[in-house]
């Protein structure tokens, strides 16, 4: 059950690999990093480049989870 987590744009953190089964578990793990806490509150989440809005979304081995902080194009 290894998933890769990517942090985009201004979060400025290298990707990590984690053993987690759910977004719930992922959330608990990432919350331990104080520098990440504000980003968890305002970032959207994609799994394998699909936007996810349901915290119950299951994770499977090899999934790529992406954190997308607030955007401003143009």
């Amino acid at each position: 059950m290894v998933v890769t987590v990517e942090f985009l744009g201004p979060i400025g953190k290298e990707p990590i690999e984690l053993e987690v089964r759910s977004l719930e578990e992922l959330s608990s793990f990432l919350a331990q990093d104080a520098a990440l806490q504000p980003w968890l509150k305002n970032s959207a989440v994609a799994v394998n480049d699909e936007m996810i809005t349901d915290r119950a979304h299951p994770l499977k081995s090899g999934d790529r989870v992406t954190l997308l902080p607030p955007v401003c194009g143009g």
């Binding site: 607030p70 955007v71 401003c72 143009g74």
Partner: protein, 145 residues
Amino acid sequence: MLEIYDGPLEVPRILERWYGVQRRRNFGAFIPFVGTVRDEGGIEGLSFDLYRPLLERWFNHWQEQAAKRGAEVAMAHSCGDVPLFESSYIAAVSSPKRRVALELIDRFVEDFKANAPIWKYDLRGGERIYAADRSQPLCGSGLLG
């Protein structure tokens, strides 16, 4: 037509090329929106990161929506640094008649602002400072918070 460039856009060249394509396709209305970096707040320029896989998905969805109304969209965006008075963004709509193009350019640009996975930074004293005050959380943000 989704085009990503390192640094500023060569706006006249891009517009000339897109104009040539759309008029050969018998479109009567062509509306580009060009976004240029303004001299304000003492910045030296802007800089951009973008996440291409989701940007392409967002763009392709728009292309499908436009096609349902007989229209087409195009977009060019900069990656990296863009100095003052240079342009970082062009969005365009072409359609057979004006009304559809006028409606779509407004929605296309506003939806881009709300949903395109692009991050903006001010350039100040050679540093890249996240434009947090002008950024908007994407739909569904806070899922892990």
